[in-house]
Amino acid sequence: MRGSDTELVEAFAHAFDTLLRTAEATLGAITLGAILDRVLYVSAERFPMLAVLRPEGLAVHWDDLRERTRDLGRDQLKDGIGFAMTELLTVLGNLTADVLTPELHDALATGEQQS
């Protein structure tokens, strides 16, 4: 079970990073950094376990979360990382009037296939 929790985090991290890379080309580093800052802050407010997630430039440092999976319930983990993903997509959609949304969804789908 512990291994599948880790895989869950890996899958989420991969998808999260895919979205960030896709959006960077359009939004730029500063904007994307601010978006990431917001998403992580709000996610940590809602799910304190996600407070361990830290931005590293335009990426996220996932190691701390990977190490904490042994202390977290699977449902709690799924809810938390699901919220963070949803929050990222929502903020990106709101700020761009959903112009990027189809492209982001395509990137996610491609990423799933590759993984």
Binding site: I30, T31, A34, R38, L95, A97, D98, P102
Partner: protein
Amino acid sequence: MTKKDIARLETGVRNLDPLLRGGIPAGAVVIIGGPPGAGKTILAQQICFHNVSAKRRALYFGTLSEPTAKTLRYLSQFSFFDPAKRAEDGIRFVDLGTILRDKGLEEAANLVVAQLKEVKPAIVVIDSFKVFDDLARSREELRKFGYALAVHLMVWETTAFLLGEYGPEDIATNPLFSIIDGVITVKQREQAGEQQRFLQVSKMRGTDHSRDEHAFSITSNGIEIFSPRVTIQREDQRDRPEAPRLATRVSRLDELLGQGIPLGSSLLVAGVAGTGKTVMLLEYLYRGAQAGEKGIMFSFEETEARLRAAARGLGWDLDAEIERGRIEIVFIPQPNISVEEHLLMMQERVEALGARRVAIDSVSVFLHKVKDPQLAREKVFQLASIVQNAQAVGFFATDIPYGTKQISRFGVEETVVDGGILLTSKEVGYERQRYIEIYKLRNTAHFEGRHDLQIGHGGVTIYPRYQLDRGEQPPPVLTAKRLPSGIPGFDAALGGGLLERSVTLVSGSAGIGKTTLSLQFLAEGVKHGQPGLFVALEETPDQIRMLAKAWGIRLGEPRDGGVDIMYLPPQQFRTNQFLAILSDRIRSLGARRLVIDGVSQLVTHGEPPGVLMQALTILATRFKRLGVTSLLTLEASALFSTETVTERGLSPVADNLVMLRYEQIGGTLAPRLTVIKARGSTHDRSTREIIMASHGIQIGPPVASRGKRSKSKRRP
């Protein structure tokens, strides 16, 4: 993919959202610029308080320009300031001053971001942002700082207002202006002789905004913007059916206006001072109220109390109509006039009342500070738009400059209204004669030219000028019906009596019996249930009644269907007035027989030649249309003349021409009667004796030869 409309933040500032086509785009970063005291803080605060709720919070950052405590103290005076909204879950006031002073821009920016995260506000205000300009060590630092802050504001989906004492020069040079989404400037300058505040939207991304300067004031309610150019727009009338027309019910003004005034129209009521414009406007509202139509007057010279008093003096019960809510009078003292503000006020008041009649007294005073004719034209157009949108009818008084031929103050106002009424006056002897003229009324065949007007007890009285109605012919005499004349022997001479609706001219020298003959004609009508009207131009009603009594001629009483006697001395009535007065009386009496004794008196000195002919022609036409059989007496200048009627060209006027003259027989004068003309009748052209009998005149048989006289009673 369907396009999404940009969500907008309502400002809550009166008339600002229409300028912004609905409000400020949500998420925009907007600079509010302007000099100290221009109203930047009030504007930002008003927007905050309007939008803040438990779910929509605001962050208000104060910097070094004004301590927060002082800001709050002054803002608490405004009606929009709600202390409940200033709680932690409403507007959070944060002082940036300390951290800026001690630690600089970056730390201040971090504080802003930290507050954004914690509060997640819908609105952010930074007051003043200009201080960052002053504290930045370089333009590059300012640009980076501004950009980073703008990004965070955008990411947290706040609508942000950055206040600062920015001027026009900053727009071109300040790097901040390249990253923001909107610029609103507030300023103050002199216009039309007074200091006026203005707001201008120079930029607002995603918005087709107004770019004009718009006047505003700061009241206890906060900022109120007056933007009549935007908010007073003519509604599309194309789908509306043809507008019904309004009858003014003022004297005979409606006769002059033709079919009436189309709803939505505005008319100038123009004249120099003292020509009766205010009375005209007041009566226009009063008569409308009596008919159930609501009206409103905007007065800039006379107070409501003075207008009420004037109305009482004219015999109106204007007070009752005001109490019933049918009339409103709004007085704005001249020094307090603010054109932009009061245009919007007028629009609101007209709509609130549901006014059908609008009076403005006067447009000249309302726009007295406006020097530019084109601006005056625009304002009059906006006034007319208010009236049109309300589907009312507007009467706008306007002063004409003395000694000019203009019909308005600027000479341009008449180009944007639908009609015009011109009031003039002229000295005639010791009197001043008033006139009224309809010089324009769109889409309406109105009565042209100048007409007499009087103002007295009861208000305005208009006497339309004599004029044959266009294209209309008088109805023909009724050849089937003959009326007995009441003069024995006269009917035989006429071929059986007078045809109904005929006009008979009786010409004769003084004292020959014209008046007696005409009284007998009316008395005969009374016997047959035909009320009569005797119009005396020289003698008083008492004199006429005495004459009738002396001859034993029974006239009866008007209230019982008898004969009414009117005294209309020509020196008191102009020709134009005569017909109007007469027509009214005929209608009110239901008169079927009419006598005008001495019609030549109708024409006064100075009237152009042919006026009598014209007057009699119109009288004759009118009488026939009213269904009246009439007899007009005309005094001949000479005892023996037979030429009075024909030489004056009056023959075509009448259906019957009767001549009374004296014939000298020996040493005496014998009165004679001859029917010269009887249209539609086979009449007797022979000269007959006039016999003065005990009960009036009788017409004897044809005179066979000279020298024979019959015995007759001499006239008393």
